[in-house]
Amino acid sequence: MLELSAEERAVSAGEGGNGAAMAMRIVAEAARLMGAPRLIPVASAHIDGALYHGDSGTLFAEKLVEGGARVAVRASLNVGSLAPAGCAAIRLPPHEREMARRMMRAYEAMGCEPSWTCAPYQAGHRPAQGTDVAWGESNAVVFCNSVLGARTNRYGDFLDIACAIAGRAPDYGLHRPENRLATLLIDVSGLSLGLRRSDVFYPVLGTILGRAAGSAVAVIEGLQGCTTEDRLKALGAAAASAGGVGLFHVASVTPEAPDAATALGRLAPRERIELSPADVEAALARLSTAGETSRVDAVAVGSPHLSLAEIDEVERRMAGRRLTIPLYANTGRHVVGPLEAQGRRRALEEAGVVFVVDTCVVVTPILPEVAGAVLMTNSGKFAHYAPGNTGYAVTYGSLGECVESAVAGRLVREARAWR
Protein backbone atom coordinates (compact mmCIF):
# COMPACT_ATOMS: atom_id res chain seq x y z
CA MET A 1 0.00 0.00 0.00
CA LEU A 2 1.44 3.36 -1.05
CA GLU A 3 1.74 5.98 1.66
CA LEU A 4 2.47 9.58 0.75
CA SER A 5 4.02 12.11 3.13
CA ALA A 6 2.01 15.17 4.20
CA GLU A 7 4.11 17.31 1.87
CA GLU A 8 3.59 14.96 -1.09
CA ARG A 9 -0.18 14.99 -0.45
CA ALA A 10 -0.19 18.80 -0.29
CA VAL A 11 1.66 19.07 -3.62
CA SER A 12 -0.76 16.54 -5.21
CA ALA A 13 -3.66 18.67 -4.02
CA GLY A 14 -2.27 21.73 -5.81
CA GLU A 15 -0.26 23.59 -3.18
CA GLY A 16 2.70 24.06 -5.55
CA GLY A 17 0.59 24.85 -8.63
CA ASN A 18 -1.25 22.76 -11.21
CA GLY A 19 1.84 21.52 -13.05
CA ALA A 20 3.56 20.31 -9.87
CA ALA A 21 0.30 18.65 -8.75
CA MET A 22 -0.07 16.81 -12.04
CA ALA A 23 3.54 15.58 -11.85
CA MET A 24 3.18 14.38 -8.24
CA ARG A 25 -0.08 12.56 -9.02
CA ILE A 26 1.56 10.80 -12.00
CA VAL A 27 4.51 9.66 -9.86
CA ALA A 28 2.13 8.49 -7.11
CA GLU A 29 -0.11 6.57 -9.57
CA ALA A 30 2.96 4.89 -11.09
CA ALA A 31 4.10 3.94 -7.57
CA ARG A 32 0.68 2.47 -6.78
CA LEU A 33 0.66 0.43 -10.01
CA MET A 34 4.21 -0.83 -9.37
CA GLY A 35 3.40 -1.77 -5.79
CA ALA A 36 5.92 0.67 -4.27
CA PRO A 37 5.28 1.45 -0.57
CA ARG A 38 6.52 5.07 -0.73
CA LEU A 39 8.26 7.71 -2.79
CA ILE A 40 11.94 8.53 -2.34
CA PRO A 41 13.82 11.76 -3.13
CA VAL A 42 15.91 11.73 -6.31
CA ALA A 43 19.08 13.78 -6.89
CA SER A 44 18.79 14.19 -10.66
CA ALA A 45 16.94 13.14 -13.79
CA HIS A 46 17.73 12.41 -17.43
CA ILE A 47 14.70 13.01 -19.64
CA ASP A 48 14.01 10.86 -22.69
CA GLY A 49 10.47 12.19 -23.13
CA ALA A 50 11.32 15.12 -25.44
CA LEU A 51 11.55 12.92 -28.53
CA TYR A 52 8.49 13.47 -30.73
CA HIS A 53 6.28 10.37 -31.15
CA GLY A 54 3.01 12.22 -31.81
CA ASP A 55 1.11 15.37 -30.89
CA SER A 56 -0.13 14.06 -27.51
CA GLY A 57 3.39 14.17 -26.02
CA THR A 58 3.77 17.82 -27.03
CA LEU A 59 0.38 18.72 -25.54
CA PHE A 60 1.35 16.96 -22.28
CA ALA A 61 4.61 18.93 -21.97
CA GLU A 62 2.84 22.20 -22.78
CA LYS A 63 0.17 21.51 -20.14
CA LEU A 64 2.92 21.10 -17.53
CA VAL A 65 4.46 24.42 -18.66
CA GLU A 66 1.06 26.18 -18.49
CA GLY A 67 0.66 24.81 -14.96
CA GLY A 68 3.94 26.49 -13.96
CA ALA A 69 5.90 23.24 -13.56
CA ARG A 70 9.69 23.49 -13.08
CA VAL A 71 12.14 20.67 -12.50
CA ALA A 72 13.12 20.37 -8.83
CA VAL A 73 16.44 18.64 -9.57
CA ARG A 74 19.12 18.73 -12.24
CA ALA A 75 17.55 17.32 -15.42
CA SER A 76 19.54 16.73 -18.61
CA LEU A 77 17.74 16.12 -21.91
CA ASN A 78 18.18 13.12 -24.18
CA VAL A 79 18.18 13.49 -27.98
CA GLY A 80 15.32 15.31 -29.68
CA SER A 81 13.84 14.92 -33.17
CA LEU A 82 15.47 18.09 -34.50
CA ALA A 83 19.05 19.30 -34.49
CA PRO A 84 19.24 22.94 -33.41
CA ALA A 85 23.03 22.71 -33.08
CA GLY A 86 23.66 20.19 -35.85
CA CYS A 87 24.18 20.37 -39.56
CA ALA A 88 22.67 17.19 -40.99
CA ALA A 89 19.37 17.90 -42.80
CA ILE A 90 16.28 16.37 -41.20
CA ARG A 91 13.41 15.29 -43.46
CA LEU A 92 10.46 15.77 -41.07
CA PRO A 93 7.20 17.06 -42.64
CA PRO A 94 6.14 20.60 -41.57
CA HIS A 95 3.48 19.65 -38.97
CA GLU A 96 5.72 17.09 -37.24
CA ARG A 97 8.66 19.51 -37.35
CA GLU A 98 6.61 22.25 -35.68
CA MET A 99 5.22 19.91 -32.98
CA ALA A 100 8.72 18.52 -32.31
CA ARG A 101 10.06 22.07 -32.00
CA ARG A 102 7.26 23.02 -29.56
CA MET A 103 7.98 19.91 -27.52
CA MET A 104 11.70 20.64 -27.23
CA ARG A 105 10.92 24.26 -26.27
CA ALA A 106 8.46 23.11 -23.57
CA TYR A 107 11.05 20.85 -21.90
CA GLU A 108 13.63 23.65 -21.92
CA ALA A 109 10.99 26.01 -20.45
CA MET A 110 10.62 23.67 -17.45
CA GLY A 111 14.31 24.17 -16.66
CA CYS A 112 15.76 21.05 -18.27
CA GLU A 113 19.34 21.44 -19.52
CA PRO A 114 19.57 21.60 -23.34
CA SER A 115 22.18 18.83 -23.34
CA TRP A 116 20.31 16.86 -26.07
CA THR A 117 22.51 13.81 -25.75
CA CYS A 118 22.09 10.11 -25.03
CA ALA A 119 25.50 10.13 -23.27
CA PRO A 120 24.80 12.68 -20.48
CA TYR A 121 27.34 10.83 -18.33
CA GLN A 122 30.08 12.07 -20.71
CA ALA A 123 28.62 15.58 -20.76
CA GLY A 124 29.26 16.29 -17.10
CA HIS A 125 26.18 14.64 -15.58
CA ARG A 126 27.59 11.93 -13.31
CA PRO A 127 25.61 11.23 -10.12
CA ALA A 128 27.62 9.83 -7.20
CA GLN A 129 27.63 6.13 -6.33
CA GLY A 130 24.66 5.10 -4.20
CA THR A 131 22.50 8.15 -5.08
CA ASP A 132 18.91 7.63 -6.20
CA VAL A 133 18.12 9.27 -9.54
CA ALA A 134 15.35 9.05 -12.16
CA TRP A 135 16.87 8.45 -15.58
CA GLY A 136 15.36 7.54 -18.94
CA GLU A 137 17.00 6.27 -22.19
CA SER A 138 18.01 2.64 -21.87
CA ASN A 139 21.76 3.10 -22.49
CA ALA A 140 21.98 6.01 -20.03
CA VAL A 141 20.08 3.98 -17.41
CA VAL A 142 22.39 0.99 -17.72
CA PHE A 143 25.54 3.19 -17.63
CA CYS A 144 24.25 5.14 -14.63
CA ASN A 145 23.48 1.97 -12.66
CA SER A 146 26.42 -0.17 -13.76
CA VAL A 147 29.39 2.15 -14.32
CA LEU A 148 28.51 5.02 -11.96
CA GLY A 149 26.77 2.91 -9.31
CA ALA A 150 23.92 5.42 -8.95
CA ARG A 151 20.43 3.90 -8.68
CA THR A 152 17.65 4.21 -11.21
CA ASN A 153 14.94 2.18 -12.89
CA ARG A 154 14.21 2.55 -16.58
CA TYR A 155 11.99 5.64 -16.44
CA GLY A 156 10.04 6.03 -19.66
CA ASP A 157 8.09 8.80 -21.29
CA PHE A 158 6.06 11.03 -18.91
CA LEU A 159 7.37 9.42 -15.73
CA ASP A 160 10.88 10.81 -16.26
CA ILE A 161 9.75 14.46 -16.34
CA ALA A 162 7.12 13.85 -13.62
CA CYS A 163 9.86 12.53 -11.30
CA ALA A 164 12.10 15.51 -12.16
CA ILE A 165 9.34 18.00 -11.27
CA ALA A 166 8.26 16.13 -8.12
CA GLY A 167 11.88 15.43 -7.12
CA ARG A 168 10.58 11.96 -6.19
CA ALA A 169 10.47 8.45 -7.63
CA PRO A 170 8.64 5.25 -6.63
CA ASP A 171 10.71 3.15 -4.21
CA TYR A 172 10.99 -0.15 -6.07
CA GLY A 173 13.21 -2.15 -8.41
CA LEU A 174 16.84 -1.06 -8.77
CA HIS A 175 16.52 1.63 -6.08
CA ARG A 176 16.53 -1.23 -3.55
CA PRO A 177 19.96 -2.80 -2.82
CA GLU A 178 18.59 -6.36 -2.70
CA ASN A 179 17.47 -6.07 -6.35
CA ARG A 180 20.94 -4.97 -7.50
CA LEU A 181 22.62 -8.30 -6.82
CA ALA A 182 23.58 -10.47 -9.78
CA THR A 183 21.82 -13.80 -10.31
CA LEU A 184 23.59 -14.71 -13.54
CA LEU A 185 27.34 -15.16 -14.10
CA ILE A 186 28.89 -14.80 -17.56
CA ASP A 187 32.49 -16.00 -17.74
CA VAL A 188 34.49 -14.67 -20.71
CA SER A 189 37.94 -15.74 -19.50
CA GLY A 190 38.00 -18.57 -22.11
CA LEU A 191 38.22 -15.98 -24.91
CA SER A 192 41.55 -14.62 -26.16
CA LEU A 193 42.99 -11.56 -24.47
CA GLY A 194 43.30 -9.88 -27.87
CA LEU A 195 39.55 -10.17 -28.40
CA ARG A 196 38.73 -8.99 -24.88
CA ARG A 197 40.93 -5.93 -25.48
CA SER A 198 39.32 -4.92 -28.79
CA ASP A 199 36.55 -2.30 -29.09
CA VAL A 200 34.64 -4.41 -31.61
CA PHE A 201 34.05 -7.16 -29.00
CA TYR A 202 31.93 -5.07 -26.62
CA PRO A 203 28.74 -4.55 -28.68
CA VAL A 204 28.84 -8.28 -29.49
CA LEU A 205 29.18 -9.16 -25.80
CA GLY A 206 26.35 -6.70 -25.04
CA THR A 207 24.05 -8.51 -27.45
CA ILE A 208 24.84 -11.82 -25.75
CA LEU A 209 24.27 -10.24 -22.32
CA GLY A 210 20.94 -8.74 -23.35
CA ARG A 211 19.64 -12.02 -24.75
CA ALA A 212 20.87 -14.10 -21.82
CA ALA A 213 19.85 -11.77 -19.00
CA GLY A 214 16.55 -10.26 -20.21
CA SER A 215 15.87 -7.96 -17.28
CA ALA A 216 17.93 -9.98 -14.77
CA VAL A 217 21.23 -8.68 -13.34
CA ALA A 218 24.43 -10.37 -14.55
CA VAL A 219 28.04 -10.21 -13.43
CA ILE A 220 30.74 -10.67 -16.08
CA GLU A 221 33.95 -12.37 -15.05
CA GLY A 222 37.19 -12.09 -17.04
CA LEU A 223 37.40 -8.47 -18.20
CA GLN A 224 39.83 -7.13 -15.60
CA GLY A 225 42.32 -4.80 -17.32
CA CYS A 226 40.42 -5.00 -20.63
CA THR A 227 37.73 -2.32 -20.36
CA THR A 228 37.61 1.41 -20.97
CA GLU A 229 34.69 3.73 -20.24
CA ASP A 230 33.76 3.80 -23.94
CA ARG A 231 33.83 -0.02 -24.10
CA LEU A 232 31.48 -0.27 -21.09
CA LYS A 233 29.26 2.34 -22.76
CA ALA A 234 29.07 0.20 -25.94
CA LEU A 235 28.46 -2.98 -23.91
CA GLY A 236 25.58 -1.46 -21.95
CA ALA A 237 23.93 0.11 -24.98
CA ALA A 238 23.93 -3.17 -26.90
CA ALA A 239 22.67 -5.10 -23.85
CA ALA A 240 19.84 -2.63 -23.29
CA SER A 241 18.69 -2.85 -26.92
CA ALA A 242 18.89 -6.64 -27.15
CA GLY A 243 17.18 -7.21 -23.76
CA GLY A 244 15.67 -5.31 -20.85
CA VAL A 245 18.99 -4.94 -19.04
CA GLY A 246 19.06 -2.06 -16.54
CA LEU A 247 22.18 -3.05 -14.58
CA PHE A 248 25.18 -5.32 -15.05
CA HIS A 249 28.38 -5.77 -13.07
CA VAL A 250 31.92 -6.44 -14.30
CA ALA A 251 34.05 -8.20 -11.69
CA SER A 252 36.96 -6.03 -10.45
CA VAL A 253 35.84 -3.18 -12.74
CA THR A 254 32.42 -1.70 -11.85
CA PRO A 255 31.79 -0.10 -8.44
CA GLU A 256 29.44 -2.70 -6.94
CA ALA A 257 31.62 -5.64 -8.01
CA PRO A 258 35.00 -5.62 -6.26
CA ASP A 259 34.76 -9.31 -7.18
CA ALA A 260 32.12 -11.66 -8.64
CA ALA A 261 31.18 -13.12 -5.24
CA THR A 262 30.31 -9.67 -3.85
CA ALA A 263 28.19 -8.84 -6.89
CA LEU A 264 26.34 -12.15 -6.39
CA GLY A 265 25.68 -11.36 -2.72
CA ARG A 266 27.83 -14.41 -1.83
CA LEU A 267 25.16 -16.72 -3.23
CA ALA A 268 25.59 -19.23 -6.04
CA PRO A 269 24.48 -17.82 -9.42
CA ARG A 270 21.10 -19.09 -10.66
CA GLU A 271 22.80 -19.62 -14.01
CA ARG A 272 26.41 -19.70 -15.19
CA ILE A 273 27.39 -19.17 -18.84
CA GLU A 274 30.92 -19.74 -20.16
CA LEU A 275 31.35 -18.01 -23.50
CA SER A 276 33.14 -19.85 -26.28
CA PRO A 277 34.51 -18.36 -29.53
CA ALA A 278 31.58 -20.07 -31.31
CA ASP A 279 29.07 -18.15 -29.13
CA VAL A 280 30.81 -14.91 -30.06
CA GLU A 281 30.78 -15.81 -33.79
CA ALA A 282 27.04 -16.53 -33.65
CA ALA A 283 26.26 -13.25 -31.89
CA LEU A 284 28.49 -11.34 -34.30
CA ALA A 285 26.61 -12.82 -37.28
CA ARG A 286 23.27 -11.73 -35.79
CA LEU A 287 24.37 -8.07 -35.66
CA SER A 288 24.48 -7.83 -39.47
CA THR A 289 21.37 -8.10 -41.66
CA ALA A 290 22.85 -7.18 -45.06
CA GLY A 291 24.26 -10.63 -45.81
CA GLU A 292 27.17 -11.28 -48.20
CA THR A 293 27.50 -7.95 -49.98
CA SER A 294 30.27 -5.43 -50.36
CA ARG A 295 27.74 -2.62 -50.82
CA VAL A 296 27.90 0.22 -48.28
CA ASP A 297 25.84 3.40 -48.85
CA ALA A 298 26.67 5.18 -45.61
CA VAL A 299 28.50 4.70 -42.32
CA ALA A 300 27.04 5.71 -38.95
CA VAL A 301 28.98 5.84 -35.69
CA GLY A 302 28.00 7.24 -32.32
CA SER A 303 25.20 5.33 -30.60
CA PRO A 304 25.57 6.19 -27.78
CA HIS A 305 26.89 9.63 -28.83
CA LEU A 306 30.63 9.71 -29.56
CA SER A 307 33.00 10.94 -26.88
CA LEU A 308 35.88 13.25 -27.74
CA ALA A 309 38.22 10.25 -27.45
CA GLU A 310 36.16 8.35 -30.03
CA ILE A 311 36.26 11.32 -32.45
CA ASP A 312 40.06 11.43 -31.96
CA GLU A 313 40.14 7.79 -33.05
CA VAL A 314 38.00 8.46 -36.16
CA GLU A 315 40.30 11.36 -37.08
CA ARG A 316 43.45 9.32 -36.49
CA ARG A 317 42.19 6.47 -38.69
CA MET A 318 41.11 8.84 -41.49
CA ALA A 319 44.71 10.12 -41.51
CA GLY A 320 43.93 13.08 -43.75
CA ARG A 321 42.14 11.01 -46.42
CA ARG A 322 38.82 12.01 -48.03
CA LEU A 323 35.73 9.81 -47.67
CA THR A 324 33.81 8.63 -50.75
CA ILE A 325 30.56 7.93 -48.86
CA PRO A 326 29.22 9.93 -45.91
CA LEU A 327 30.23 8.98 -42.38
CA TYR A 328 27.53 10.20 -39.98
CA ALA A 329 29.17 11.10 -36.66
CA ASN A 330 26.41 11.24 -34.04
CA THR A 331 27.37 13.25 -30.99
CA GLY A 332 26.41 16.04 -28.62
CA ARG A 333 27.15 19.72 -28.13
CA HIS A 334 29.58 18.77 -25.35
CA VAL A 335 31.83 17.25 -28.04
CA VAL A 336 31.16 19.47 -31.06
CA GLY A 337 31.82 22.64 -28.99
CA PRO A 338 35.46 21.75 -28.20
CA LEU A 339 35.98 20.36 -31.75
CA GLU A 340 34.86 23.65 -33.22
CA ALA A 341 37.04 25.66 -30.84
CA GLN A 342 40.02 23.59 -31.97
CA GLY A 343 39.16 24.11 -35.66
CA ARG A 344 38.76 20.36 -36.17
CA ARG A 345 35.05 20.21 -37.01
CA ARG A 346 35.46 22.02 -40.33
CA ALA A 347 38.41 19.89 -41.42
CA LEU A 348 36.50 16.69 -40.68
CA GLU A 349 33.44 17.98 -42.52
CA GLU A 350 35.54 18.92 -45.55
CA ALA A 351 36.86 15.36 -45.60
CA GLY A 352 33.31 13.95 -45.71
CA VAL A 353 32.20 13.53 -42.09
CA VAL A 354 28.57 14.61 -41.48
CA PHE A 355 28.02 15.65 -37.87
CA VAL A 356 24.62 14.79 -36.41
CA VAL A 357 24.27 16.82 -33.23
CA ASP A 358 21.42 16.85 -30.62
CA THR A 359 19.77 13.84 -32.28
CA CYS A 360 20.77 10.70 -34.20
CA VAL A 361 20.14 8.83 -37.45
CA VAL A 362 17.79 6.18 -36.01
CA VAL A 363 15.35 8.47 -34.16
CA THR A 364 14.57 10.98 -36.90
CA PRO A 365 14.67 10.81 -40.72
CA ILE A 366 18.18 11.87 -41.81
CA LEU A 367 19.49 9.05 -44.03
CA PRO A 368 18.37 9.51 -47.65
CA GLU A 369 15.76 7.00 -48.87
CA VAL A 370 17.62 4.61 -51.18
CA ALA A 371 16.26 1.22 -52.27
CA GLY A 372 18.30 -1.69 -50.94
CA ALA A 373 20.68 0.60 -49.06
CA VAL A 374 23.24 -0.73 -46.58
CA LEU A 375 24.43 1.08 -43.47
CA MET A 376 27.72 0.13 -41.88
CA THR A 377 28.18 0.72 -38.16
CA ASN A 378 30.32 -0.21 -35.19
CA SER A 379 27.39 0.31 -32.81
CA GLY A 380 25.36 -2.59 -31.45
CA LYS A 381 22.46 -0.23 -30.84
CA PHE A 382 22.45 1.14 -34.40
CA ALA A 383 22.74 -2.44 -35.69
CA HIS A 384 19.63 -3.33 -33.66
CA TYR A 385 17.43 -0.36 -34.58
CA ALA A 386 18.57 0.79 -38.04
CA PRO A 387 16.75 -1.90 -40.09
CA GLY A 388 13.34 -1.13 -38.51
CA ASN A 389 13.71 2.63 -38.17
CA THR A 390 15.61 3.61 -41.33
CA GLY A 391 14.92 0.80 -43.81
CA TYR A 392 18.69 0.30 -44.27
CA ALA A 393 20.14 -3.17 -43.93
CA VAL A 394 23.12 -3.27 -41.57
CA THR A 395 26.68 -4.49 -41.78
CA TYR A 396 28.43 -4.50 -38.41
CA GLY A 397 32.18 -3.95 -38.16
CA SER A 398 34.98 -2.36 -36.15
CA LEU A 399 35.63 1.38 -36.21
CA GLY A 400 38.68 0.70 -38.40
CA GLU A 401 36.53 -1.21 -40.90
CA CYS A 402 33.93 1.57 -40.83
CA VAL A 403 36.50 4.27 -41.66
CA GLU A 404 38.25 2.17 -44.35
CA SER A 405 34.88 1.33 -45.94
CA ALA A 406 33.89 5.02 -45.95
CA VAL A 407 37.18 5.86 -47.70
CA ALA A 408 36.84 3.03 -50.24
CA GLY A 409 33.07 3.38 -50.79
CA ARG A 410 32.61 -0.38 -50.33
CA LEU A 411 33.01 -2.92 -47.56
CA VAL A 412 36.60 -3.33 -46.37
CA ARG A 413 37.29 -6.07 -43.80
CA GLU A 414 40.36 -6.26 -41.59
CA ALA A 415 42.13 -9.52 -40.95
CA ARG A 416 40.98 -10.30 -37.45
CA ALA A 417 41.04 -13.19 -35.05
CA TRP A 418 37.63 -13.72 -33.44
CA ARG A 419 39.22 -16.21 -31.09
Partner: protein
Protein backbone atom coordinates in the same frame (compact mmCIF):
# COMPACT_ATOMS: atom_id res chain seq x y z
CA UNK B 1 -8.83 -12.48 -8.25
CA UNK B 2 -11.39 -13.47 -10.81
CA UNK B 3 -14.10 -15.89 -9.70
CA UNK B 4 -15.62 -17.81 -12.55
CA UNK B 5 -19.41 -18.04 -12.43
CA UNK B 6 -20.65 -19.03 -15.89
CA UNK B 7 -19.51 -16.25 -18.15
CA UNK B 8 -19.24 -13.68 -15.45
CA UNK B 9 -15.95 -12.62 -13.94
CA UNK B 10 -14.97 -10.27 -11.21
CA UNK B 11 -11.86 -8.41 -12.35
CA UNK B 12 -9.63 -6.30 -10.11
CA UNK B 13 -9.88 -2.61 -10.97
CA UNK B 14 -6.46 -1.22 -11.95
CA UNK B 15 -7.63 2.14 -13.31
CA UNK B 16 -11.31 2.91 -12.82
CA UNK B 17 -13.87 4.60 -15.04
CA UNK B 18 -17.61 4.24 -15.73
CA UNK B 19 -19.20 1.07 -17.20
CA UNK B 20 -18.11 0.09 -20.72
CA UNK B 21 -19.19 -2.32 -23.42
CA UNK B 22 -17.62 -3.64 -26.57
CA UNK B 23 -16.45 -6.69 -28.44
CA UNK B 24 -13.56 -8.56 -26.86
CA UNK B 25 -10.37 -8.84 -28.90
CA UNK B 26 -8.39 -11.46 -26.99
CA UNK B 27 -4.77 -11.49 -28.13
CA UNK B 28 -3.14 -14.91 -28.30
CA UNK B 29 0.42 -13.66 -27.73
CA UNK B 30 2.07 -10.89 -25.69
CA UNK B 31 2.45 -7.57 -27.48
CA UNK B 32 4.76 -4.57 -27.37
CA UNK B 33 2.70 -1.43 -27.96
CA UNK B 34 5.86 0.37 -29.15
CA UNK B 35 6.44 -0.96 -32.63
CA UNK B 36 3.50 -3.36 -32.26
CA UNK B 37 0.50 -1.03 -32.54
CA UNK B 38 0.25 1.89 -34.98
CA UNK B 39 -0.57 4.93 -32.80
CA UNK B 40 -2.42 6.68 -35.64
CA UNK B 41 -4.73 3.83 -36.73
CA UNK B 42 -4.93 1.36 -33.84
CA UNK B 43 -3.87 -1.49 -36.13
CA UNK B 44 -1.56 -4.24 -34.87
CA UNK B 45 1.57 -3.85 -37.02
CA UNK B 46 4.03 -6.28 -35.40
CA UNK B 47 4.87 -8.57 -38.33
CA UNK B 48 5.37 -11.56 -36.02
CA UNK B 49 2.17 -11.12 -33.96
CA UNK B 50 -0.65 -13.66 -34.59
CA UNK B 51 -3.29 -10.88 -34.56
CA UNK B 52 -1.38 -8.70 -37.01
CA UNK B 53 -3.74 -6.46 -39.00
CA UNK B 54 -6.53 -6.44 -36.37
CA UNK B 55 -7.81 -3.05 -35.19
CA UNK B 56 -7.84 -2.55 -31.40
CA UNK B 57 -9.94 0.65 -31.59
CA UNK B 58 -13.07 0.44 -29.43
CA UNK B 59 -12.48 -3.19 -28.45
CA UNK B 60 -12.22 -4.64 -24.99
CA UNK B 61 -8.63 -5.66 -25.43
CA UNK B 62 -7.54 -8.75 -23.48
CA UNK B 63 -3.75 -8.86 -23.05
CA UNK B 64 -2.21 -12.17 -21.96
CA UNK B 65 1.11 -10.32 -21.60
CA UNK B 66 2.92 -7.15 -22.55
CA UNK B 67 6.51 -6.73 -23.70
CA UNK B 68 7.93 -3.75 -21.90
CA UNK B 69 9.14 -0.73 -23.81
CA UNK B 70 9.59 2.62 -22.15
CA UNK B 71 7.65 4.21 -25.02
CA UNK B 72 4.56 1.96 -24.67
CA UNK B 73 2.89 4.68 -22.59
CA UNK B 74 3.46 7.25 -25.37
CA UNK B 75 1.79 4.96 -27.92
CA UNK B 76 -1.24 4.41 -25.67
CA UNK B 77 -1.60 8.16 -24.96
CA UNK B 78 -1.37 8.85 -28.69
CA UNK B 79 -4.12 6.25 -29.34
CA UNK B 80 -6.39 7.95 -26.76
CA UNK B 81 -5.69 11.38 -28.30
CA UNK B 82 -6.37 10.08 -31.82
CA UNK B 83 -9.65 8.40 -30.75
CA UNK B 84 -8.20 4.97 -31.60
CA UNK B 85 -7.83 3.51 -28.08
CA UNK B 86 -9.51 0.31 -26.89
CA UNK B 87 -12.73 0.76 -24.85
CA UNK B 88 -11.07 -1.09 -21.95
CA UNK B 89 -7.98 -3.15 -21.16
CA UNK B 90 -8.05 -6.58 -19.50
CA UNK B 91 -4.53 -7.42 -18.36
CA UNK B 92 -3.05 -10.59 -16.95
CA UNK B 93 -0.54 -8.48 -14.97
CA UNK B 94 -0.47 -4.71 -14.53
CA UNK B 95 2.21 -3.16 -16.76
CA UNK B 96 2.88 0.16 -15.05
CA UNK B 97 4.64 1.69 -18.06
CA UNK B 98 1.76 0.93 -20.42
CA UNK B 99 -0.88 2.04 -17.89
CA UNK B 100 0.97 5.31 -17.38
CA UNK B 101 -0.37 6.30 -20.81
CA UNK B 102 -3.89 6.11 -19.34
CA UNK B 103 -2.87 7.92 -16.14
CA UNK B 104 -1.53 10.79 -18.26
CA UNK B 105 -4.62 10.78 -20.54
CA UNK B 106 -6.78 11.21 -17.43
CA UNK B 107 -4.58 14.11 -16.27
CA UNK B 108 -5.00 15.69 -19.72
CA UNK B 109 -8.78 15.53 -19.25
CA UNK B 110 -9.25 13.17 -22.23
CA UNK B 111 -11.85 10.35 -22.13
CA UNK B 112 -9.85 7.51 -20.63
CA UNK B 113 -10.57 3.78 -20.97
CA UNK B 114 -10.48 1.75 -17.75
CA UNK B 115 -8.07 -1.11 -17.05
CA UNK B 116 -8.82 -4.32 -15.17
CA UNK B 117 -6.82 -7.34 -14.15
CA UNK B 118 -8.06 -10.66 -15.55
CA UNK B 119 -5.85 -13.78 -15.62
CA UNK B 120 -4.65 -14.87 -19.07
CA UNK B 121 -6.30 -18.28 -18.50
CA UNK B 122 -9.75 -16.63 -18.34
CA UNK B 123 -9.26 -14.47 -21.44
CA UNK B 124 -9.64 -16.91 -24.41
CA UNK B 125 -13.29 -17.79 -23.67
CA UNK B 126 -14.19 -14.09 -24.01
CA UNK B 127 -12.69 -13.85 -27.51
CA UNK B 128 -15.04 -12.32 -30.06
CA UNK B 129 -17.92 -11.96 -27.54
CA UNK B 130 -19.75 -8.77 -26.69
CA UNK B 131 -18.92 -7.78 -23.11
CA UNK B 132 -20.20 -5.31 -20.57
CA UNK B 133 -17.98 -4.30 -17.68
CA UNK B 134 -19.36 -2.46 -14.64
CA UNK B 135 -17.39 0.28 -12.89
CA UNK B 136 -16.67 -2.27 -10.13
CA UNK B 137 -15.10 -4.73 -12.59
CA UNK B 138 -17.93 -7.25 -13.13
CA UNK B 139 -17.33 -8.60 -16.63
CA UNK B 140 -20.38 -10.19 -18.36
CA UNK B 141 -20.52 -11.84 -21.76
CA UNK B 142 -23.76 -11.61 -23.76
Amino acid sequence: MALKMGLEFEAEVLLPSGPVEGECLALTAPISFWGGVDPASGLIIDARHPERGRDITGTILALPGTIGSSSASAVLLELVHAGRAPAALLMDAPDAILLLGLVVAREMGWPTPPAYRLPAADQPQLAGRRLTISAEGIVRAE
